[in-house]
Each structure stands twice: as structure tokens, then as C-alpha cells.
Symmetry: C5
């Protein structure tokens, strides 16, 4: 999974019929200190994520393993909202990042 | 999904027999301000997209989850035409990009 | 799908038993003006493509959606030979590339 | 598979219902001499891996081929803990890296 | 598929129960002239490949389409040993690389 932050929404009227009701969110990839990476991905929300929240995104066929995304032409899904990261270096905890 | 713009068409006479009738479009990846990225992908159209339109492209096995692409050797599908993007930074809406 | 040109062949005697008879071609990725990219991929031919031809390559599980590649350990297939590209910029046709 | 080192944990309360109990670990990709690469991935643990351990990560649909991850929206799994690498160059063993 | 050379072995005692007996090899990606690329991948051997051999690696779900790898958490498999490459440029054969 990749770590990202929801920064926006994609609006689409004309889409595959199975995608009616799907919420397309723009997710900016994050480094572990929550600084932004350059890359963004459009992902369907399956957990009620909103703009500004830090999330995990699953990609590929795994993106279709939720009730909302099953059998749909979707290759990225937000499947978790991140509370915090515990990051250790050299086996010692150096940083705790909280949202 | 990736954000892109339809910039052309690929013509092919000799192809897998299941691909007869499939419309192969050339999609240029876009940044969130609709400026072009360097990368392009060839995707099958499933929503009636035309040249100049901003679209979403699903890749991998998810590209086969439409009626038109099911069980076919296709790894990228246009599954939505984008109306607009709402982009927020630091939890405030900074930009609205309309087509 | 990616756009590429067949530039060679891989010969292999010792391979998975399901791959006997498969034709492994070396495909160089192309830009839209048919200039070569750096990247190459080895793909199985399903449409009778030969050296020098411009082709489309489907990757991942979609590479197994042809009669020749079904249920085989193959992650890239040539599924179309390209006749020409119509490329438009700013909604006007600027270039037509013919083979 | 990619070679990586577990450097932390992602905590998430709000997630897909099938992910309750899943342990999300942060894995830093490693070079063959165990020096860190820039890239990190969040992977579910299926083998009892802990912080500081060198592991293998399988991605994509293959990440769902364990008892813990089957049919879940997970695209990366830790499926092995690495004891050591034997690395040969020019057909001679030059380096043995032990954890 | 990618072209690579087997340069080593990964030893792992603690792994997914379905992986007992699997041989994890370190494959360095190669250019077409057999010069090494920077990238390496860990792949399961399904054809009796050894250190120093030039091979093809299939990735993703296609890596599970061999008897040895079926339904296992494996995303890369060596499915062919390369005898030689015939490489043509501008429709003429310029190079033949033999192992």
C-alpha cells in the first residue's frame, strides 16, 4: 500500500455504469514525515475518507476487494485512514508521527 | 486511476480477434493543473470519450471490468470522463479546475 | 497498452513446459513519433508480428487473455499490429504517423 | 519480490472491515548490501516479522495468496524473513551478507 | 518479461508455509547487450536456473502460472533460460548475443 493524503475530488458525470455513486478522491503520495511526494493517484473511497486525511491506498486487483469496488473498473482504493506512524531506525524508535 | 487527456487514436487492422471494434485511444497523462506529463498510455474507450477530453484511466486487470473489455487482452481502459477537479491544499480549497 | 517496435527475438530451449512454441519477441518502447524510448520488454507474439513492426503490448494478467497465452507464465503479449497513429494537439490534428 | 527492512508500523482504526487485526508494517527497500533505497512500501505481515528484520515483500494479487490476506484489499505482503543473501558476480561468490 | 541474470540466492527459514522448498534467486536486470541494469528482483525458480545464467522473469499474477508457484504469495518467477538473443535494428540483424 502507499501512504497518501486526500487533497481533492474528481467529478465525473459520464462514466461506466457500475461507477455511479463511487467517490473519486485525489490522493497525494506522502513521505514518512508526511511531506508530499510528486506523485498523485485517483482512488475510490471505501472508508469515508475526507480531504486532509492521511490514508492507505491499495492498487491493482486488490483495489476491487471491498464491497464498494467489487467487479468494477477501479484500480486504486482507499482502504484505511491512518491514525499515526511509528517509525524506527536501527531498531530504536526515533519518530512518532501523529495526525 | 490516472488523470489524462485523449490526444489521438491508434489504428490497427491485424489484432487479437476479440479486439475487433475496440477503439484504441492515446491518452497523455496530466498533472492536476491539466499540464501534460511526459508519459502516454494507449487505452480502450468504454465511455464514448473523444479527442481533447479529460478522462480517468484504470489499468491492469481492472481494465477488464467493463462490458466492452471483459476477458480481452487489454490493460488500460477509459472508464470516466472528467467534469472537473476540486483540489484542496492544507484543508482549504485553493483551486477548482473546470474543463 | 504500450506502443513499441519489434527489434529482435529471444531463443530459449529450457523453459516452462507450457511455453513450448511461444515466440518471445523483444519490443522497444516508442514515443508517439516512433523515436525509441530506452525501455525494452520481452513479449509473446499472438498476432504474427515480425521484426520491424510497430505493435501494441498488453501487460500483466491481461497478457494471458489470448488463446495462445491463457494460463501461462507470460506477463506481456503483442495483441495488435499498428497501422498508423492519429495524434491531435489542442483538439486539432497535427500529426499523422504512418508505418 | 523486493528485499526490504521493517522500519515501522502504521496504526489505523478506521479501515475496511476485513482488515481488522491486520498488522501494517512500513518496509524500506534495500539494496543487496542492505543499504537503504529511497522507496518504502506499507505491507501486511503474514510471518511474524518485527521492526529491524530483513524481509521479502510480494506485491499485487500475489499479496492475497496467504491465509491472512486472502480476498482482502491488500496489495503488499511480507511472506518471508530473510536469513542471508549469497551474492555471486561473474559466477564466483563475492559476498555473503548475513543478518 | 524482463531479461536478467541470476546473481545470487536468498535464504529464508521463516516464511509462508506454502513457500517451503521454493528457491528464491536474485536476478539482476540486463540490457540487451547483457550489461547490468541497476535494478534487481527476487524471483522463484521454476526451470532449474543457476547462478550466472541469463533468464526471463515473469511478474505479477503471471508468476503464479507454473506448477511450482500456483496459489502462492510469489510475484516473480523465472520461467525460461535464455540461449541467445537476435537483435535487429532498422530491420537488419546487427547483433547476435550468445551466452
Amino acid at each position: 500500500m502507499i501512504l497518501g493524503k486526500v487533497i481533492g475530488t474528481v467529478w465525473s458525470t459520464k462514466k461506466d455504469e457500475n461507477l455511479v455513486g463511487a467517490k473519486f478522491l485525489i490522493v497525494q503520495e506522502l513521505n514518512l514525515d508526511y511531506s508530499p511526494k510528486k506523485n498523485t493517484v485517483v482512488a475510490v473511497d471505501s472508508v469515508g475518507a475526507g480531504v486532509g486525511e492521511v490514508v492507505l491506498v491499495a492498487q491493482g486487483s486488490s483495489a476491487r476487494q471491498t464491497i464498494l469496488t467489487k467487479n468494477k473498473p477501479i484500480d486504486a482504493v482507499i482502504m484505511a485512514i491512518v491514525d499515526k506512524l511509528d517509525i524506527s531506525v536501527k531498531d530504536k524508535i526515533e519518530k512518532v508521527v501523529e495526525n
